[in-house]
Homo-oligomer: 215 residues x 2
Amino acid sequence: MPESVEKPEMRMAELSRRSELSVPTIKYYLREGLLQPGRRTSVNQAVYDQTHLERLRLIRALTTVAGLRLAKVRAVVAAVDGQASEVEAMGVTQDVLVGEVDGDDADASAILDRAITARGWRCETKSPAYRAAVSAVAMLGTEGLTPILDRLDAYVEAAEDVGRTDLDAIADAGSLEDRIRGVVLGSVLRRPLLEALVLLAQQHFAQELTRTEEG
Amino acid sequence: MPESVEKPEMRMAELSRRSELSVPTIKYYLREGLLQPGRRTSVNQAVYDQTHLERLRLIRALTTVAGLRLAKVRAVVAAVDGQASEVEAMGVTQDVLVGEVDGDDADASAILDRAITARGWRCETKSPAYRAAVSAVAMLGTEGLTPILDRLDAYVEAAEDVGRTDLDAIADAGSLEDRIRGVVLGSVLRRPLLEALVLLAQQHFAQELTRTEEG
């Protein structure tokens, strides 16, 4: 992936302005080791560059937009910093965003597996996302919504289009930090968009239905 | 739509058992006019039928599953009871589920309109769903997530598949009550399913990406 070419250095005040975070907040992230130290220019001064800005934007997305606690922010930052591959870093981010889910239902799991195997998906069955899907299937079963479960293949296919587009949307970002930030913001902000669009599609099809019946 | 053929009558105790609602709760709904009166068999007794059960199941979906207040439940029940067409009743239900949204952004509205007009959707621009979509587009713009907005067409297309499948799933229900209940439960319970499936799709494509790069 291409790194940004120019890395002009900046002082703390500008870092604060450009990251939209206060100086005390940035100093707190420095002390906590979430933000890497700047390049020291004197005993009391340091300069920062684009990598610091990207890190702060990622932290801001995790805290302000996703509303995560510092322990979870730390887990994502550690994955980005550490030896983890990009896929592992994205996995950690997903796990943190989904949180703990109780999804242990053999019947629901079998229903889900059949549908995702049919499309050739390889998924991490220990991941919170998988458990969340099992839990959702189980809940639909409990409420007797079999017409939805009968159409699981159609939902899986639509989810595939959304997931592919999501990854496509973050692929252009120059740094791993920016791509992980894209995963976080995408997950939090793309979700209400998709659900609102689904409601509009329902409006459209409901009217179509009426016109057909009238016509 | 086919009405259920047999309508065996039942006493309050059985209505309570089959609706999974307590007798005092059912009596409260009777007093509030949310549940239509039963057929009186003596001064102190009445019998109820399938239509009462369907109504109670709808109310239970609105209160317990969707967590709506009684005023909003009343709006849905009034639409189902009233002279409103099925599409209008579904519209009221959608509005109630989405709630009040502040979505008044000319730029975001133009971006959204272009995408939904391209697919020939006719939408109610005064509806909470439309305002929620405008608000989501505006938020993505504010956070600089242009890569997602650039792919709005792909999300609209996926949403179309989901919305069509949602309507398809409720079309089989025998009564309007059951179809509206399907809209409510679908909206509340299908949502976490779709989002979990999207995460699994992301897992799948992220791994594909790595395999391609390695191979």
